[in-house]
Symmetry: C2
Subunit: 549 residues, 2 copies
């Protein structure tokens, strides 16, 4: 997805250059304090291209250093904090976000151009508070940690806090993936870790308001003050240094592949888990029977999904595989008509607009033909015409790397294959993706094709769909918002879905022959809340353990 | 632990040099066939230093290439294979190993100098077959995959096969960690993946016999023939190429830190999970009250643990923290006496002996003083005198990196700290370890010290023990044989302990709106065996799912 989470400082605006308003403080070590900064930056209104008020610091390493020390001390205290108190923080924070919803939505709309309603106020904010409350419930219940007890050997284990977590938020979900309120934040806190949030520089004021509420909730719940810290921006080098710092436990990053892979190298070298959500084309295969049966409905679904939030979704359907033929040509014409007639909404930033234009250009250079769109329309703000491209299977196979360039935004490419065998080969050339969909007819005429293609696509994606576009990531325990590299860094984990998402920010902690009073509550004989599921001597149970010795 | 899993070819013995016996074939693509080799090697009898009969090939890349293609095809078939059939293979294989136990134990004794009894025949082989049977039971039951169903949204997920797995076995457990019978093998197969085993070159004949039984069991269970493949040796470059190959799903490696970290770089760059078990000092803190109470018992425990299998255990207690004082000096003298009077048993190979001598030398160069041992005794074979070193806390802190050099074998270092504060600082300087132990008295006099030190040690180790030495890794669901980097590559996973170990070789697979007949059995409404635990609409249950729509 979109813009790098780690970007260069705006060198034209140095900290020493006095602005009309004071530079916004950062939240470090339990207080809002002046940043040690190497520069400043400001947000823009994507709908108009105008600079928004407020100067935000690009923190120097000194800020990271103090934040890391404070996080280590907070982590130590959090490990001795009852689960209920952490759950209380998450709930209080959700309440506080709702109480300040109008102000937060207004600011986020200015900074992102996403609609106040339904998107920001009725979809994303409720999703965000919902995630926080689901995380609170999971902490209170405790089964997420997979507590396991062998009473005969007196060996007991469960997942426990991994240490301070840095979260790099993306540009496209100012609440639900925000570094101090989103899914990574909720999961990292719920598994008992302090979070150092690194804001996305495209929406700093939104992040500031959210962090104010998080910090107030930290105080109200009596958690260590440095449980939540906020830095707005970093130089790329400091970002890498932060990720590789020995004081860190793990990191979460959602953003561009280029920035994420650099962070991955730094984390890997330091032996630190990093959970990445990078690019994804989200291939959709539409089989001929489905087009015969319901082409118009599928064209509506696809257009809605592809243009949702101007296409700036991690799960945007960016790559459509169709079998050559007149039905497919009619379908493409129908989609073209829909794309032409829909007015393009603003993109999140000038950077997104620039990258989208460059990606579309790159796809064309690799042999894709433009069906519609392909340039910025006249007018203010950051927009790009709704764009469709096409390429045939043979050409795709000749340039499969370049033709998998993610065009983050309102653009998709149709890959027209000549037959089932070529479709299979195209799938085999796909990189790892978050999602993959197959549309088939309901009368069985596509079943043979489906049987040949589905197992191949299954292995290349995290979430596999039937007859459905991939946008709309439901926050449910059964969700997988993850997938094989390079969609993420490890195919075993999901960023969305509780309790699974919590397990990313945890280490497996075994206790061997440890005296009872020294055990964490989840591993004592007595079930701490009567509800926690534990694997005791091979049996899943909510009962107390009965020592055999 | 010990010798590199990827070693240089023995260039003095080229394939073209005709030996008395033919070069042993490799097991690739469903047949025992002549290797495409770049050289040959042979095993040695560590007790005598003599070359053992049998020439084994160092496979060239061509062997890896064919094995990878065969593994991809086998993986595709395995994904459609019923769980019960995979379970059947694991059980049949265990039976076959037992039926051939005498021959396998005899060969392993020759190649490793480990005792036939109790070690090989009564401990390690039963552990190995036990692991295989536990894995079989886990596959049949199915809960290991954490199946999760949201009936309202019709979103369903579980862990599924990650793809072909390469397992690099270590030198020190010829059965229980063998690349074609050990914990990684059992886990990778149980989660539905074919395995390419890379033998440890110190026990090729043992591995050959085991692979013969595995291959026979593959045929008997009707699995794809390339479910199990075996290569004996590789050049370091081919090892790295294998790990980074796009056809691979994941890798498991147990061996030296130097070799493992090179493989990690290759796997990380390719975005492939690699599960490493590298070095570990397994720190043991013995508090003063415990020494007052039971010094002699602890000296016995420590000596037994440290010299077990000539110290060649991943969990060998190599680093003992003691508080300065006369009780500690008496304890050290008691251990010295025990170390002096125990005859050193053979080491696993000339390489282990060489590395051990070099490590002890490095520790001395960094300021450690020799208490006893420190050199090879006269006589045949590969031996090293039982060795103890000591260093004070201040010196340790000045050279903490060098003084954490792992001396794999029958050697340990005592770190004598002046007080609790220095003990805490020493712990804070420890790298990640598999285990950490604290001995304290039973009357409460150590409780304050324990309370200050235990939380620090807890975060730096995978398995935390009280009053117990770390050797003896019980195969139980509650075990954690893992730990923070550089003990392993990710602190959330364990190499021992079923079902958790299976989850390493799996990807999270979500099904969104997928038609019922197209779902894997574990995710259909009906519980496939009535025993599988599934999280359905937020409730753990063994019942069928009842669709709400």
């Amino acid at each position: 997805m979109g813009c790098p989470g780690v970007a260069a400082a705006d060198s034209s605006r140095k900290a020493q250059r006095k602005a009309a308003m004071p530079i916004q403080p950062v939240l470090i070590a339990g207080q809002w304090r002046a940043a040690r900064s190497s520069g400043v930056f400001h947000a823009e209104n994507p709908a108009t291209g105008e600079t928004l008020p407020g100067e935000y610091p690009v923190s120097a390493w000194a800020d990271c250093n103090v934040a890391l020390d404070a996080a280590v001390a907070a982590a130590e205290k959090l490990r001795a904090t009852p689960a209920g108190q952490i759950a209380q923080f998450l709930s209080l924070f959700a309440d506080r976000l709702e109480a300040r919803a109008t102000e937060i939505v207004d600011i986020a709309h200015l900074e992102t151009a996403l609609a106040k309603a339904p998107r920001l106020s009725q979809v994303e904010l409720p999703r965000t508070t919902g995630q926080l409350r689901q995380a609170a419930a999971a902490v209170g219940e405790g089964s997420w940690a997979l507590p396991t007890i062998d009473t005969k050997l007196n060996i007991r284990s469960c997942l426990g806090p991994i240490g301070p977590v840095v979260v790099f938020g993306p540009n496209n979900f100012p609440f639900a993936y925000n570094c101090v309120s989103g899914g990574d934040f909720a999961a990292a806190i719920a598994s008992g870790n302090p979070v150092i949030g690194k804001a996305h520089p495209s929406h700093p004021a939104t992040t500031r308001l959210i962090a104010e509420e998080a910090f107030a909730a930290v105080a109200a719940a009596g958690l260590p003050p440095a449980t939540v810290q906020l830095i707005y921006h970093l130089s790329p080098d400091d970002g890498l240094r932060l990720i590789g710092d020995p004081r860190l436990g793990a990191a979460g990053f959602t953003g561009s592949r280029a920035a994420g892979l650099k962070l991955k190298v730094a984390a890997d070298a330091a032996g630190k888990p990093i959970y990445l959500e990078l690019s994804s084309l989200n291939p959709v295969i539409i089989l001929p029977g489905a087009l015969d049966e319901r082409a118009s409905k599928i064209a509506d679904d696809f257009t809605g999904s592809c243009l949702l939030a101007t296409g700036q979704m991690c799960t945007n359907p960016g790559f459509i595989i169709l079998l050559a033929g007149p039905t497919t040509e009619r379908f493409i014409a129908a989609v073209e008509q829909r794309f032409s007639s829909a007015a393009p909404a603003p993109l999140l930033s000038s950077g997104v607009a620039r990258n989208l234009a460059a990606s579309v250009q790159k796809l064309q250079s690799a042999g894709a033909q433009l069906i519609v769109g392909g340039a910025a329309p006249p007018g203010p703000g950051w927009r790009f015409a709704n764009t469709l491209l096409r390429v045939d299977g043979a050409r795709f196979l000749a340039e499969s790397k370049a033709l998998q360039t993610e065009a983050f935004g309102n653009a998709s490419i149709f890959v027209i294959v000549r037959d089932a065998a070529e479709a299979a080969t195209v799938i085999d050339h796909l990189e790892g993706n978050l999602t993959g969909s197959i549309y088939s007819d309901t009368r069985g005429s596509d079943d043979a094709l489906y049987a040949g293609l589905a197992p191949r696509l299954r292995q290349r994606v995290g979430r596999f769909l039937n007859d459905k576009m991939p946008t709309g990531v439901a926050v449910t325990a059964a969700m997988n918002h993850g997938g094989p590299y390079p969609a993420t860094g490890h195919p075993g984990f999901t960023a969305v879905g509780i309790p699974a998402a919590l397990r990313r920010f945890a280490m497996l902690q075994c206790y061997d022959n440890v005296r009872s009073a020294r055990l964490p509550p989840a591993l004592r004989d007595r079930n701490p809340n009567g509800k926690m599921w534990r694997l005791i001597d091979g049996q899943m149970t909510q009962a107390d353990a009965v020592p055999r010795s």
